[in-house]
């Protein structure tokens, strides 16, 4: 490892950071006298350009990861395959949330907002690639701190401050859990490298520290469960989604989710591929059990407890998320509970994870399309909220009269979230569940898939509650709602993508597959 490698491996993150600084300089230095509208637009466009530059950097970087050791066998940052897919997704979704900013009025500090978004996105890129506990933690903190600030960005809104405080307290606690779990892992295995740790779990030390290992797994699951808002670590989500400014909420709901799930994919992949050839170099340095050593009576290793805990989180999230969403009267809170439910479905895919890349691809497909749809949903909510001053269900009354286009895209987004074909949400669910059943056709995964499908039937009810107000119930106020052209174009583009990818589901699959080396 030398600085050239380091620079090369972190090229996209560097591009984002430079863009963040550039936005600050331009906004604070050159545009101090300009109108707010102008400053917001320029800052957002610079941010989008930064994302574009980072995408370009991602292309240049190719499959160059970063490792240390004599032959670089201990990976710090991975690259290529699913990591590249997730990173591309993060950058595109970030750019979309920045475009939603153009129409927003919650802040006067446009430059700072965009800079924080870009830095948080850099954190997202880091954790998507990270293969080392320390890098994971740094990336998570970079992302999380950004998110706390973004949540609090509407300085004149009490709700925003409250949401940020709740998010911060829960988040700090979760980070502490995670770090504590990491410290146990390091203590047991003597390494911070993911692959080496997982290999060492099969070694001598870990056998004797089995209870500690389980504690560590639970703590890590708690920390990461918080990031993806899985029950019972979900309490922050409804408040944050409700209080945060709309573009920030969209960012939390999409980009942060993609990055966190990419990290979970890294862990699950590493856990399954422990004895693969590419880790053999690491194997040499691991301690092997000396013959004749007494073994603990039952030793589950890493995979079984990990799978168990993910299954429990998944089932709890699906059930609680969907049932709690039924009772919501605020659309943002409804979206928060639906996000919890969706996290539950994805966790099911992670719990029953395949050795081949079928599960990885299904999860990426799900999380990318979910992120895209959620940004769209928040976009509509933010427009309605500005016009009516509320995100209550009743704010959507008569939307089809007040802005037919907005109502139509809302229809597309919500039906896609409910998983109605031929929209992309259906294929995402279908791929994921087929992957789960492909891994194991036993009664338990089957029962869980049945539960997930039954729960998505429940979800149709609350999505229809919103659509019912938009299309069916009479309007109280028929004055038209106007949306900024840029917002409208972004929303229409997302809706078109949701429909197109739904009609041609092979497109996105092919795109994801194109990141894998052709055999």
């Amino acid at each position: 490892m030398n600085y050239t490698d380091l620079f090369r491996a972190t090229l996209p993150e560097t591009a984002l950071e430079i863009a963040a600084l550039l936005v600050l300089i331009v906004d604070l230095g050159l545009l101090r006298k300009s109108a707010l509208k102008m400053r917001v637009t320029i800052a957002a466009l610079l941010g989008v350009a930064g994302c574009g530059a980072a995408l370009w950097a991602l292309q240049i970087q190719g499959n160059a990861g970063l490792g240390y050791g004599t032959t670089g066998e201990f990976t710090l940052l991975g690259a290529g395959t699913y990591i590249a897919v997730a990173q591309t997704g993060i950058l595109v979704l970030t750019a979309l949330t920045l475009l939603l900013l153009i129409d927003s009025v919650f802040t006067r500090n446009a430059g700072e907002y965009v800079a924080v978004v870009l830095m948080a996105a850099a954190g997202g890129l880091l954790i998507a690639a990270a293969q080392d506990l320390l890098v994971i933690f740094i990336g998570l903190e970079l992302l999380s701190l950004g998110l706390y600030i973004l949540t609090a960005f509407a300085k004149s809104s009490g709700k925003s401050a409250e949401a940020a405080m709740k998010y911060y307290l829960f988040g700090g606690m979760a980070a502490a859990f995670l770090l504590f779990g990491f410290s146990y892992l390091y203590g047991i295995t003597g390494s911070t490298n993911l692959h080496q740790i997982l290999l060492a779990v099969y070694g001598w030390n870990a056998y004797h520290a089995a209870p500690l290992l389980y504690v560590a797994i639970v703590l890590i699951a708690a920390g990461l469960g918080f990031k993806v808002a899985a029950v019972p670590f979900h309490l922050w989500a409804p408040d944050t989604y409700e209080g945060a400014p709309a573009p920030a909420a969209a960012f939390i709901a999409s980009v942060s989710k993609v990055a966190s799930f990419a990290l979970l994919i890294s862990i699950s992949t590493a856990a399954l591929h422990v004895f693969d050839g590419r880790h053999l170099a690491a194997y040499v340095s691991a301690q092997v059990i000396p013959p004749g050593t007494p073994r603990p009576p039952v030793y589950l290793g890493f995979n079984i407890p990990w799978m168990l805990i993910l299954t429990v989180l998944s089932a709890a999230s699906m059930v609680l998320g969907n049932l709690a969403a039924l009772a919501q009267i605020s659309v943002r809170r409804l979206l928060a509970y639906s996000a919890i439910a969706h996290a539950g479905y994805i966790l099911l895919g992670l719990a029953f994870f395949s050795y081949s890349d079928v599960s990885t691809n299904a999860i990426l497909y799900y999380i990318l399309t979910y992120g895209l749809t959620t940004i769209g949903a928040f976009g509509v909510v933010s427009v309605v909220e500005r016009a009516t001053g509320s995100d209550r269900l009743d704010a959507f009354l008569g939307l089809h009269k007040r802005n037919p286009l907005l109502a139509a895209v809302l229809l597309v987004f919500f039906l896609s979230l409910a998983g109605i074909p031929p929209l992309v949400g259906f294929w995402a669910k279908f791929n994921l569940f087929a992957a789960v059943l492909g891994v194991s056709a036993g009664p338990i995964p089957f029962a869980l898939v049945a539960l997930a499908i039954a729960m998505s039937a429940v979800s149709l009810y609350y999505y229809l509650q919103v659509l019912k107000r938009a299309y069916v119930m009479p309007a109280i106020n028929e004055s038209p709602i106007r949306a900024h052209p840029v917002t409208l174009i972004v929303l229409l583009g997302i809706a078109a993508a949701v429909v197109l990818m739904g009609c041609f589901p092979a497109l996105l699959q092919g795109w994801i597959a194109s990141f894998y080396p052709q055999l």
């Binding site: 898939v449 229809l464 069916v472 589901p505």
Partner: protein, 504 residues
């Protein structure tokens, strides 16, 4: 040619959605043109397919990594049901000629529904079929919730949730079949040949069958049907009873019986005379026939009578499917067609011709209105439709139900006897409805007498779309009743191939 029915309907839905508001007359004529063109394609496809077996229309890889095909094909059963959809679509447009609120949106949802229905009947890939099946759910919700009448939001939500739960059950079964078969193709033809293990079929069959049968109105999952039908606007209840319930029955046949033939095998033990899933579903079908008819007899709302009669008639379809013999299943398919036409006609008379003029469907009110004198056309149309619905010889219902009963007799005579009771009660409720709604001589209310000669109190005259629609539907039912071979020639070979397993 048949595939264009699908594209035409979706293109029509899009065109209607983009039509400027307020051009109601344009929206109506455009809708009629689309529906008639669809019917022409369906008739053309039916005529062209005469004497042919299964014809593959399109076969493209859709999701290659999962073996999902965009596979449209048609056999005799599909062609008959596509024809039914074409007829129902035209009739539906004719009977929604008086929709004045958000007309273009009404027809947009209407054609989205029709397109989904055409798609289901032509899909020979399990997932394509499922996709079209779900596409049909959402427009139903909006059609009922926006343009419906009595308790429309309740009826619409109930219908949507029942459908979605049913389709969730189907999806679970389909995912299981897909992973179990390991054939890496979801084409129905491949799956039917995949040789799924009998023990798997034994539990997957009831799941898929029940999922589809919910939409076919199988007792005890029928409760969405009466409330949904009553809440729906006329055209939507015509489509619901006319074609959407057939989607369920068709799914039972195409995905249930074809893919999982061993699911119907005996369990090896029997409990109170029930020894297989076949006995279970046949029992439910018979209960549905009798129960639907008895409940229809007790209704005070005219439309509920028709709603429950649909449950009863769909029981014949399910009973026919469970006979698993040539004549019974043929009868079931013919009953799908026949009930589609007759139920459409009945709902049109009750919902459009009577209700839109009298603004009541309560027998107590209708009795005082002397509709036989004031709306003779409606009365006579209902006499014809009622006769067809009772299963009088000369109408399509007679041929269909007779075949089902013969098929059932060959398996278990008591099925036929019990279903026969349903037919007798059917005569009674039709008679009762006819008498109460049209031919009662109860004294008019004082209020009515006071205003009898007010010009604004006159019932609006019968319009040409109504006459055309009634003539078309009654004519088709009569024609098929007199010359059933025209459909049977298409249905019989297809049923034979389907019952033989893998197909031709």
């Amino acid at each position: 040619m048949l595939a264009w029915t699908i594209y035409l309907s979706f293109a029509g839905a899009l065109a209607e959605a983009l039509l400027p508001k307020g051009k109601n007359s344009l929206a109506r004529w455009l809708a009629l043109a689309i529906a008639v063109a669809g019917l022409a394609l369906a008739v053309g496809g039916f005529a062209a397919g005469m004497g042919q077996g299964r014809v593959i229309i399109v076969d493209l890889p859709w999701v290659p990594s999962m073996g999902i095909h965009y596979l449209l094909a048609a056999d005799g059963i599909s062609r008959v049901l596509v024809l039914l959809t074409g007829l129902a679509a035209v009739a539906g447009v004719l009977f929604s000629w008086n929709v004045e609120v958000r007309t273009n949106e009404f027809f947009a949802f209407y054609f989205a529904l029709i397109g989904g229905v055409y798609g289901v009947f032509l899909s020979f890939d399990l997932f394509l079929l499922f996709v079209f099946y779900e596409v049909a759910i959402v427009p139903k919700y909006f059609l009922i919730a926006i343009w419906g009448s009595t308790r429309r939001e309740y009826g619409a939500m109930k219908l949507a949730l029942y459908s979605f739960v049913g389709s969730a059950m189907v999806l679970i079964g389909l995912l299981a079949a897909y992973t179990t078969s390991g054939s890496h193709s979801t084409s129905l033809i491949d799956l039917a040949h995949a040789g799924l293990p009998a023990s798997f079929q034994m539990w997957c069959f009831p799941l898929v069958f029940t999922g589809f049968a919910i939409l076919a109105g199988m007792w005890p999952f029928h409760t969405w049907a009466p409330t949904g039908h009553v809440a729906a606007p006329t055209a939507a209840s015509m489509l619901l009873a006319g074609v959407v319930m057939k989607l369920g029955a068709y799914g039972c046949l195409r995905a249930g019986i074809w893919l999982f033939p061993h699911g119907l095998d005996p369990w090896g033990f029997s409990f109170i005379g029930i020894g297989s899933w076949r006995d279970v579903f046949a029992l439910l079908a018979v209960i549905g026939i009798v129960y639907g008819a008895l409940v229809a007899l007790a209704q005070t709302d005219f439309k509920f009578v028709i709603g429950y009669s649909s449950v009863s008639h769909m029981g014949f379809v399910l009973l026919g499917l469970m006979t698993l013999n040539q004549i019974g299943v043929t009868g079931a398919v013919l009953q799908m067609f026949s009930h589609g036409i007759i139920a459409g006609l009945l709902f049109a008379i009750v919902g459009r011709i009577v209700y839109d003029r009298t603004h009541t469907r309560q027998f107590a009110d209708l009795e005082t209105m002397h509709l036989a004198k004031r709306l003779p056309f409606a009365a006579w149309a209902f006499v014809i439709a009622g006769m067809a619905s009772m299963g009088l010889p000369g109408f399509s219902g007679f041929v269909a139900e007779l075949q089902v009963l013969i098929g059932a007799w060959m398996v278990k005579p008591w099925w036929t006897i019990a279903a026969g009771v349903g037919i007798v009660v059917g005569v009674a409720y039709t008679w009762r409805a006819l008498q109460k709604a049209f031919f009662s001589d109860a004294l008019p209310s004082a209020h009515f007498l006071e205003h009898e000669h007010d010009p604004e109190h006159e019932l609006a005259a019968i319009t040409w779309p109504e006459v055309t629609g009634v003539a078309m539907l009654a004519g088709v039912s009569l024609f098929v009743g007199l010359y059933p071979r025209i459909l049977l020639d298409a249905i019989e070979p297809a049923v034979k191939a389907l019952l033989a397993g893998g197909g031709q």
